[in-house]
Symmetry: D2
Amino acid sequence: MNTFGNIFRLTSFGESHGKAIGGVIDGCPAGLEVDMDFIQQELDRRRPGQSRVTTPRKEADTVVFLSGLFEGKTTGVPIGFMVENTNQHSSDYENLKDVFRPSHADFTYYTKYGIRDYRGGGRSSARETIARVVAGAIAKLYLKQIGISVTAYTSQIGSVALERDYTQYDFNEIENNIVRCPDPQKAEEMIRLIEEVKSQGDTIGGVITGVIQGTPAGLGEPVFGKLHAALGAAMLGINAVKGFEYGSGFDVDHRGSEVNDSFVKEDGKMSTLTNHSGGIQAGISNGQDIYFRVAFKPVSTILREQKTADIQGDTILFKARGRHDPCVLPRAVPIVEAMAAMTLLDYYLLAKSH
Amino acid sequence: MNTFGNIFRLTSFGESHGKAIGGVIDGCPAGLEVDMDFIQQELDRRRPGQSRVTTPRKEADTVVFLSGLFEGKTTGVPIGFMVENTNQHSSDYENLKDVFRPSHADFTYYTKYGIRDYRGGGRSSARETIARVVAGAIAKLYLKQIGISVTAYTSQIGSVALERDYTQYDFNEIENNIVRCPDPQKAEEMIRLIEEVKSQGDTIGGVITGVIQGTPAGLGEPVFGKLHAALGAAMLGINAVKGFEYGSGFDVDHRGSEVNDSFVKEDGKMSTLTNHSGGIQAGISNGQDIYFRVAFKPVSTILREQKTADIQGDTILFKARGRHDPCVLPRAVPIVEAMAAMTLLDYYLLAKSH
Amino acid sequence: MNTFGNIFRLTSFGESHGKAIGGVIDGCPAGLEVDMDFIQQELDRRRPGQSRVTTPRKEADTVVFLSGLFEGKTTGVPIGFMVENTNQHSSDYENLKDVFRPSHADFTYYTKYGIRDYRGGGRSSARETIARVVAGAIAKLYLKQIGISVTAYTSQIGSVALERDYTQYDFNEIENNIVRCPDPQKAEEMIRLIEEVKSQGDTIGGVITGVIQGTPAGLGEPVFGKLHAALGAAMLGINAVKGFEYGSGFDVDHRGSEVNDSFVKEDGKMSTLTNHSGGIQAGISNGQDIYFRVAFKPVSTILREQKTADIQGDTILFKARGRHDPCVLPRAVPIVEAMAAMTLLDYYLLAKSH
Amino acid sequence: MNTFGNIFRLTSFGESHGKAIGGVIDGCPAGLEVDMDFIQQELDRRRPGQSRVTTPRKEADTVVFLSGLFEGKTTGVPIGFMVENTNQHSSDYENLKDVFRPSHADFTYYTKYGIRDYRGGGRSSARETIARVVAGAIAKLYLKQIGISVTAYTSQIGSVALERDYTQYDFNEIENNIVRCPDPQKAEEMIRLIEEVKSQGDTIGGVITGVIQGTPAGLGEPVFGKLHAALGAAMLGINAVKGFEYGSGFDVDHRGSEVNDSFVKEDGKMSTLTNHSGGIQAGISNGQDIYFRVAFKPVSTILREQKTADIQGDTILFKARGRHDPCVLPRAVPIVEAMAAMTLLDYYLLAKSH
């Protein structure tokens, strides 16, 4: 269950305060040129300490490849890699050794495993997503070769929200601000909101929108392996995610006659006049843009006093210490992209086996 | 990809106009008493022709078990079963042999498989969900033994919506009306709306809410097999589903301090004061109620003229014939329950292997 | 665990005295013309009552397809099928309701499932292999299109054994005798031996040789999915099989200098001068013939009195009744072929995903 | 395909001349005390340079754990580990950059991946089995707790062979000689034979016997996941293995009446009078000793001149250089044990999910 994918498979390992976070990528086609700078750049987009709206923790997060590459290319065998944990302060967590923090993994992990690895969330820490970003970066490199791009951006933080329609926005703007929002004005509002929330020792949730362009028609597996079901499972596997919708999603107050996408042949290629389907029909891509939205709850770790129970069941007052994100979305954008890229590549390779 | 689950596994087969729809359930524990009346009753809740807001097609949908049972109990070996297709009119579909119906599976299946099985949607027909309802009924019987119940209800149709908070409603009311809504007044509004939509040859979408009660803490698999990711994939695998959220879901405009669920020991058992988490924390059940919402688009088949393309790419005018559902939700309630029940049982059995 | 394969997958169901034996084939490519006569002919090769060296039970074993075919071709969706059980006499088995027959599944199934389905072996009956023969026949039809053939023959019964080297034999002779042995004289000896054994109410073991010709180089998955490991698991999954070897196998008393296969380019294609490797090197096919041997123990059911224990642990004398095979090999030949064909097709499709 | 197991899963990575060999163990139960000395001791049994009958290459092969352990115990999350490659001489392999060595992976890997990683066999190198030995050692530690032991020994080298019956031998003798043979006299003969073969620059094959004791009845999954099929696949996945048999295996010239194992209740436990079944009946363990034999071909790399083809198809004369094993069996004993231990633990955990 620490393995993701069918053909292109990532097995991830590592907890926040262990020696390293890493993974093994199995099923990556041979002969792919691996752009190390690009991979590091993706990790840097996820890295803590990158801006004033993220945790101030500084981590280099440098990836080391252990296998699977030869003369700069993939060889078809497993790609092992790791990122050493260098700046973890276990001491930040000593005071919570016996605490079940509200809405954290403490209680459920303890119940499941019978062991309390209290050091910074252990395996439930979002630090594990490092492995996904590395594998996602490699997936992106492959997808680029076949004309598929994956883009995500912050579309809502608290009450500050963009329009649903992603076509209104210029994706080139996304990396121009620290919240990764393609609307510069909304971006500023989001930043102000996060700073306000942070100053109160609090946290805030939001929504990330993902867009996949260039997908050929025909990817997806009926009936339990629908492309959007795989995408949804991928997104719901990201820490703090509470919801997933694609195409018209929860915007259900419509008639069939309003939202049906009519087919039309354009330039020798079958297309649709509208795209309420979100690029997927009956679980299979139809060649249009795939778009989806992912809901993130506010980070559970707040720097305010909270009442909760300890391991004995006694009610206690508890206040987190250390360096934490007031809002997870800016750093989650590359993670959403990574999971989407792995899913797409996996389904692309799967479709080749038919 | 026609197999669902890890330990409790359903492999389904069958298309709307073939001989039969059926499946094989593998991994069902031995010794479970199988209540045939209950299974048939669940099928009847899914059956077409059950009320004036569903398709008038009449199908008996009687299940025949082919293996896996001995003296009324499961034996631990695969349970094969089928439901014969008796009332399918292929003639209803002859006029769409060469049509790519808007928002239907026609184009994507044709692209994927290179074959056009035009008879009623073929494998993409919701008739396939018969197999899921049978397997889900068996899962429910097992879950009942261990104190877990799965309940779903229609919480929104078009603009008629219930409150998010499921605890306000009396689940005993659900089966008292033909839309399966626990609020009798809203149910009437929903029925009126569907009838109006139907009279226009149109269709309408909505939301189904699911609630799982009695789940022990500790079910769920980090990091890619989170319980809610499995539930989400299960729901997104249902025909016409466009979104899934659990707990606070897309209701993201909140601070951590507002939505964190504090632990408290009650009656010797760890509980939470609130349940914004939706019964799942870090992908693992915490013993509280699991609740989630599933968005359904309006059915694509409308009885109105639509413009679209045919297989040659020519634009044509097209109007569906036959007997169709104006709104899929009333019949989808048991399907949501079935998928949730299978997921829970699968994860319950999986947890036993640790 | 009742599913075989990765891409081309068979899920089988059914026990000897249930309603039907059947299966679901998932992942069969669309557009394959399905020759029904060929499938039935394969079933007939497995059928009981086909000759004087098999059980006299008469079963028609007629397959009914329930889904997945349209206008005589596969559509890419699951192929459901079944063979009804028509000539099972449960009364044959009433006397062994409480007996743990020697070397049978009775004790282990009872221990595993806590249930005693005493009717003819239940799921452990070789009757289950019907599903494999059907799926194997479909796999053969596909393989034929791409130039791959799968042939098996009886190479040893008791002490009557052919030479290891399959190239000495004329495969056209195989179906000319009732033991399916390509050497007519040895075939007669084998038949005499089986008849002698049968007259004593006893049974006898042997070896089946399999040969796969036309496999392209490059099929097989390092490191745990080696092609011969998959073939071995497939063969060891057949009832009564006790061993598997390929290429030089257990003939280990050789030096590397004797058995290394040197490469040579012939007609523009890389070949080897010898083929001790059995067509597979480092788990991947090299384009030469794949050959292997499968050991079968004597059938456990003998018509002689045996001492054993009953369910209470009391020692009893027990004698089987009914109609049984004195030697399983003649009927196992098509099963070996079926498993080999499914394995090859699965790996062929898997290789396409790289 | 670089993942082994269902519940207890090893994903391995690494090639002989990359940075490191390693793996990720997923599904290991939490709370297992990990005896580091034992793990290193198992690696030492596999290590090159351990005696005069193995390759003289010296490698420390020290394992570093990267995750999954806390305070000396497993935590239930993935156990990442690696062994750095420190003594690989790529120069040993420069002369074979363009050679397809006889019976080696060179040609098949090149055909499959289109890339020639010529450094010491790359992924096909037996050095990859380091990952298996580490994971197997952890599996052994768990099995020990539940009373299951796994023992392997060299039972044949070339023409020097022990009796089939393992009960004749004292397992305490196994580690007393460098070929790991429980018969001291035969061990000396084997050593002399290997030394003779080595002096000729040649290699020799043999057989390893495995014995699993203490397995409870009831492990194994019909019909495709039979315990012996899983064991067989595990063994056939080891480099240089050409055959697998269990119980009576290829010793097929027997009547049913001779080899049927009668049940008898002894000390309140069901047992069998004989054990031709090899501890497994109908794919499920019956509580008796499980025993099996594994055939190894002679190592392909010989220090003698051989004729073969190069990448252009030209016939060339080729002679290997470097430090190689004249006989792989002494070092393969712990690998056989590791694969058996992983298989048993996997099936033990799987059985708990029923």
